[in-house]
Amino acid sequence: MGFLAPLMLIGGAAAGIPLALHFFYRARYRPVPWGAMKFLRLAVEQTSRRLQFQELVLLLLRIFLMMLLAVALARPVTCSKVTAGKRGEAVDAVFVTDLSYSMNAREGAKTRLDLAKEAALKIIDELPANSTVQVITCTDRAVAAGPKSPRNLDQARLLIKNLQATQQSTDFLPGLTEAVAALGRAEGSAKEVYLFSDLQRGGWERESSAVRLKCDEIRAQGALFLVRCGTQAVRNVAVVDLKPQTDIPHTGSRMPFTVLVKNTGTEPVTGLTVTLKVDGQPLDKDAQPIEKIAPGETKPVTLTGKIDQAGWRVLTAEVKPDQLDDDNKFDRAILVREKVRILIVDGSPNERDPEKAGSYFLAHALLPVPDEFKFLYHVRPTVVKAADASPGLLSDKEACILVNAPLGGPGSVPADFVQRLGEFVKDGHGLMITAGPNVEKGVYNRLLGPGGSGLLPMELGDAFEAPKDAPLFPDPASIDEKSFLARFRLSANDPFLQLRDAYVMKAVGVVEPKAEQLKDSGRVLMRYNDGRPALLGKQGGDGEVLFLTTAVDKDWGFFATNLTFQPFVHGAMTHLIERSAAGFNRVAGEPIRWTPKDLNKSYQVTRPDGSRARLGKPQGGATEQLALTVSDTTRAGVYTISEEGREVGTKFAVIPDLRESETMDPLPDQQIDELLGFKPEHLTSGDETTTKAETVRSRNEWTVTALLALLLFAVFETALAWFCGKAW
């Protein structure tokens, strides 16, 4: 409990007036000569105790009335802290404005951010005199945006009007944390926090426990208002991925690219068109229609095109505008190569019968062209025997495949090569390991497991065989929709993608880690139909390792001879090699860090909106490589880092944080209350916003209640005084 005008409490001293009157006031009596004194005496004796009690009750009541009057005039409020309250009923308001890209969703002619701004400006206009405003912008991180002087409401208004949404996702925790800090800086006793947002699920659920605690902290200091900006369901289709389909980007031939489109809204969308551009220019066959996509459905779309020049290129997939434009475009930077060199280390070569060699089907899958065209093909696999593998062979390779390679014993892969493999992967290259008879679990676990180079995704177990009448096959349903194998799951009718036909008779077992070991472990990318892992993956530095638990020869099954093998191999290689482009592809909010070749020059960055910022020379610490850093990547699009004064430079693609599109449905008020464990003040942007805020403000103030109580007690005192004959 606090007071807006605490000085008025001094008036409580007036409670002494009835007390003083009671003891010192001498009433005037009219003298009457009287004969029947004995009757009078008896009557007085009979009534004296009752009269004294009535007098005492009246006295106490009058003292209480005086004190209640003082309390009412001091304007009591329900807030936890009573401060000096020098500013009377002034309010210290903190505005947390959600700038995630869902706020750009259009509802009618306005976006949700427009509605948020309108509501915020209205609230500022209706704040009591001497109030302050602090503005905090919030996405998955928070920034105290100002104003410099919280009392400068004009500055606050300008700030709010100039707010722009980002392409980042929502997490309310940073914004609420910053709001708590802002409340701590406020001087007054009446504190209010306003969260202007579409209140989508993602913002609440990402760190729900911590959000709840922060809201409790806010409630302990003041009032929490949730201003819902936007109430309509949004029709939205998002481009959630774009990647080369089964081929490593190269020049000279048409390449397929997979664009994943997802309906994140609540209504089906029909008549979509997906387009693809390279460096802003449309590709041939650049548009692909999607007849209908249901709510929650993800559809892959294949677009092909030919890129003639090698080097870094930016692909852009786009769908036509809907109610939310921010996730309609997806940029991806790719390195287009003229040749892709892959080293295959064969642990079971067979010069006499090449078909029995472990690398036979693999090499053919990587070079699926007639011999006369192999030289022209963009993939250049190099096959070496295990014992012949040397570190120098990796110098010009994009990826390496260990095929049934022994790591110990005669004919095994040399130790320096194994060691070099660790650096190879860490530098951003790819490694794929396939199983076979030469893959001994003990040796592999020791040399490539956590105690060795750490390349092995999981601990290997014993090999096992499937019954002849019930062979294993990779289960498409076990594939994550977001993995590079997604098309095997999503394309049900393509004969080249029917994994169920790729029978496996034998495979290496895997010891899947317990929950506490998951952090340092790899993950299962695909399982057999019996649930055992078929393909494992693990990130190592900037690169990645894939482990296939079966062999790619005919001894362990028909995986390598199935139609799906070639797209599988190409997809795996594409995936591994494309990881090197990770640094060139960021999510909004992630910094871009890049080391140019010339460290002595100054550089600049050109943002997607065309604005430029100077970066200077590459910087770095004692143990850190010199690099250029672009921190402000709140907007999605293409960022170009170039030498100062030059237009052309290295391109980087920043995509929206698509977590926002995944959890766009707003959380209803009731669920928010359940999550928080209390009921904050729910407002909706519109005409009622300020009215309700004022209502809540006055509800927190108990002056009227105190005055009503005073009136009630005064009436009661009057009635009692009249009854007792002691009316003033």
Binding site: Y29, R30, P33, L40, R41, L42, V44, L51, G725
Partner: protein, 297 residues
């Protein structure tokens, strides 16, 4: 004899009704009132057969005409009485303004009673008391005595406290001959003492009437505001807000009146409440009529 205490309207009514002794009293002369002695006096009692030697003036000739028998009428011998008028002259009788002053009212009553008694050739005596007897005028049936009574009444001022009970007992011991006793007082004394005195008087055979004179204020207690009540008889004061204690006061007074009345009824003492706000002839007439009716029963 002009006097402020002899009001024609009161006298005429009282005279017409007269004051009859309800119980058998002793008197010196042959008057209107019953005597315990029988003889040939005015009031017929019964017939008896004529015996030679009886006074033929008392033969009931009408009866002879009816029965052709000679019968003699027998009469009760009627005597006069002495009325002792006891007037309370204590300070408490001072209450009231001129029109409703208790003492003036009591004086008026005393004067009226004395006049009526003497007019019907009975004797009237006046005794004024407070804490003790202040004035004692002997009984006399002459009009000059009435003048003396009137003159005495005019000179009486309220003073002293009230001590009725013992004084009544003194009177009872002193006055041996049965007569009428009229007590005119506000009776502001202990009920038990008063009743004891009344009982003593009744034991001596007196026909006692209590005229309880009260001011309306003393019964209704209509005061408001802050009032300091100053005792008239004793130096005491009570400050109060009368409206706060009014119900209790009225209860106390009513209880007292009930007790006094009950006591009077028990001892067959006539009790007449005299409200000084009501003209005296009303209660007095009512009283006299009641006595008349009781006397014929």
């Amino acid at each position: 004899m002009p006097s402020t205490y002899l009001q024609p309207s009161v006298l005429s009514r009282a005279e017409a009704l007269g004051i009859k002794a309800r119980s058998i009293v002793e008197g010196l002369r042959v008057g209107d009132h019953k005597s315990p002695f029988r003889g040939f006096s005015v009031e017929f009692v019964q017939h008896r057969e004529y015996a030679p030697g009886d006074d033929i003036r008392h033969i009931d000739w009408k009866g002879y005409g009816r029965s052709e028998r000679y019968t003699i009428k027998q009469y009760e011998q009627e005597t006069n009485f002495a009325a002792h008028i006891l007037l309370d002259g204590s300070k408490s009788m001072e209450y009231g303004d001129r029109a409703t002053n208790k003492l003036e009212y009591a004086k008026l009553l005393a004067a009226t009673l004395s006049y009526v008694v003497v007019k019907q050739r009975d004797s009237a005596a006046l005794n004024v008391f407070g804490a003790d007897w202040r004035v004692e005028l002997p009984a006399s049936s002459s009009m000059a005595n009435v003048n003396t009574i009137l003159h005495t009444l005019e000179g009486i001022v309220p003073e002293d406290t009230t001590r009725i009970g013992p004084l009544l007992e003194q009177l009872a011991d002193r006055v041996r001959r049965r007569g009428l006793v009229f007590i005119i007082s506000d009776m502001f004394d202990e009920v038990d003492a008063v009743l004891k005195g009344l009982k003593h008087l009744r034991f001596q055979g007196h026909d006692v009437t209590v005229f309880h004179v009260l001011h309306p204020d003393e019964v209704e207690f209509p005061f408001t505001g802050n009032v300091k009540f100053d005792g008239l008889e004793l130096p005491e004061e009570i400050k109060t807000r009368p409206h706060l204690i009014r119900p209790a006061y009225q209860r106390v007074v009513n209880d007292y009146l009930k007790e006094l009345r009950a006591g009077c009824d028990a001892y067959r003492v006539d009790y007449v409440r005299m409200n000084t706000g009501v003209p005296i002839e009303q209660p007095l007439s009512k009283y006299l009529v009641t006595r008349l009716q009781m006397g014929r029963l």
